[in-house]
């Protein structure tokens, strides 16, 4: 225990005596972690954005004018019995007219043609939501059943696949850029770690020489450098957390719509899962920086 305590003491001394290089090392590690967190956050936001858009996908089934409510109800219960269907909502002709006007409020020609007709041209409508967008083709096909086909005037499917594809494409490009940037920062951080250890060895060459002379084990001579690597990581993770949390707080209200149904929104997700992310980063970065330190010692520390 005494030996561990002393190794930690020597590590702290190394850190302070080599303060500027230590701070640069911590900063580089922090930039790496911030970039990784940015990629993680982007993934999270993109997943939620895609779910949000997917939730908006629905099929409107417009029935012909004069189709009885009973037949519409039969069609609705048939649709509800399908495994692909999540929800079926019935819209009255009046609601359908309002809905149509709302959707085309910027298209004056359509609104004018509606005025020309002079009466409500809509029959009842069913609005169908699928459990998964991939289920829509089946739902649309099932409505071609002879039992319903003649009652249906039109099926209107808002296809968001192109938009989802666009989101996915953009996110994957940004993700790729983020991963590339993380790798570059990590590489630079490791180079800085190696250089910091090299400088540490140079600065402490007298002490290391005396240590060897008076019978310090090579483990004891090396341990402070490895502890220092862990210290850099812990500080970098702490600083990253201190920077990431306010950023999340600022983004949270702006992204609230994407996190509807998630307790606490974006902040809630990070309060629940953030510590796992930071702990994982701390463990992995500690191991990687210790490996870089071991490499530097192997190269520059002659004991």
């Amino acid at each position: 225990m005494t030996t561990v305590f002393r190794a930690v003491k020597f590590a702290l001394q190394n850190f302070i005596r080599n303060l500027w290089l230590s701070l640069i090392t911590v900063s580089m590690m922090m930039f790496t972690l911030l970039t990784i967190n940015m990629v993680v956050m982007l993934n999270l936001v993109a997943d939620n954005a895609i779910s949000y858009v997917e939730n908006k996908v629905e099929v409107s089934v417009y029935f012909k004018e004069g189709v009885s409510e009973e037949r519409v109800a039969t069609a609705a219960s048939y649709l509800r019995s399908l495994a692909q269907v999540q929800d079926v909502r019935t819209v009255t002709p009046e609601q359908a007219l309002e809905r149509f006007k709302e959707r085309h409020k910027r298209d004056e020609k359509i609104l004018a043609s509606l005025d020309e007709v002079g009466k409500n041209p809509f029959g009842p409508t069913l609005v169908v939501k699928a459990k998964d967008p991939s289920g829509f083709p089946f739902i649309l096909e099932s409505l071609d059943h002879p039992q319903f086909k003649n009652d249906i005037r039109e099926k209107d499917f808002d296809n968001f696949e192109a938009l989802i594809g666009q989101i996915r494409n953009t996110v994957s490009q940004v993700r790729l850029f983020g991963i590339g940037l993380s790798v570059i920062f990590l590489f630079l951080a490791l180079l800085v770690v190696v250089n910091t250890v090299r400088m540490g060895i140079f600065i402490h060459r007298e002490e290391i020489g005396v240590m060897r002379l008076v019978g310090a084990s090579s483990t004891f001579i090396r341990a402070p450098f490895l502890i220092e690597a862990v210290l850099y990581t812990v500080l970098a993770v702490a600083l990253t957390a201190a920077i990431t949390l306010p950023i999340i707080s600022v983004l949270d209200p702006k992204l609230a719509v994407l996190f509807e149904g998630t307790p606490g929104g974006l902040i809630g997700v990070f309060q629940k899962e953030g510590w796992k992310l930071l702990l994982g980063e701390a463990v992995i970065l500690s191991l990687v920086s210790m490996a870089a330190t071991a490499f530097a010692m192997r190269r520059y520390l002659k004991i």
């Binding site: 005494t2 002393r6 020489g209 060897r212 002379l213 019978g215 310090a216 084990s217 004891f220 004991i303």
Partner: protein, 237 residues
């Protein structure tokens, strides 16, 4: 003989046909054969470059012999493993011409450093360091930094540091090389005192006056070879 029965031996140091050859083919030490008994005070003398320091370095495994066999306290250290070197060095105190003190540590800290890095408890440090500082007569200067001491005092700190592990052997490599006559005498008196306590002292020097005043065993090296080995000898070269 293993490490377990260390020091219960007839010879504290035994060198059998030791040679040290540096590439491409420079012999620093050639076929040296000698033994040193427990409690002896031996001076190894010779001109610069005759292999005195190389021989001393082989005693505390700073250098490994190219040929031959070395036993220290019955422990064959010819091919000592790197992991065993710290154990050896805790049993051999070493003093150098340039003191090798840490300028940013006080006298007390310089001496306690040797114990700290070897895993000694704080209790033992508080017990041993004042004792050795008293032996070297620096117990009242423990709070000073090396820069605030004379050369002789700095060398006494270095001796104190070498003594904290209570070694059976003290190797002093040109300990008076940087000192004036007065301080040289002081250090030699200290080494004699340590020897009287039972520690085997190996003194490497080329200081004629020191060797002649000692009237102890003198081994003379020339071109890496022993050319004379005399009990109560004098500096001959």
């Amino acid at each position: 003989m293993g490490r377990a029965c260390l020091w219960q031996v007839d010879f504290m140091i035994l060198l059998k046909n030791i040679s040290k050859i540096y590439p491409p083919n420079i012999a620093a030490v050639r076929d040296v054969h000698l033994h040193i008994r427990p409690g002896e005070f031996v001076s190894i003398v010779g001109q610069s470059g005759t292999g005195k320091s190389t021989l001393a370095k082989m005693l505390y495994a700073e250098e490994r012999p190219t040929k031959g066999k070395i036993e220290v306290g019955g422990w064959d250290i010819t091919h000592i493993k790197n992991s065993d070197v710290p154990l050896l060095r805790r049993q051999i105190g070493v003093v150098f011409q340039d003191f090798k003190l840490l300028p940013r540590k006080t006298v007390f800290e310089n001496v306690s450093f040797a114990l700290e890095v070897s895993g000694a408890t704080n209790k033992r440090i508080k017990e041993v360091v004042p004792q050795v500082l008293k032996i070297v007569n620096l117990h009242e200067k423990g709070h000073r930094y090396p820069g605030q001491l004379s050369g002789g005092e700095q060398q006494r700190v270095s001796v104190a540091r070498a003594l904290v592990h209570r070694p059976k052997i003290l190797v002093a490599d040109e300990p008076t090389g940087n000192l004036d006559t007065f301080n040289t005498q002081e250090i030699m008196e200290l080494l004699k005192k340590i020897n009287e306590f039972g520690t085997t002292v190996v003194l490497v020097t080329h200081n004629r006056e020191v060797v002649n005043a000692l009237r102890k065993r003198v081994i003379t090296l020339s071109d890496g070879e022993i050319v004379s080995d005399v009990e109560e000898g004098r500096y001959k070269l």
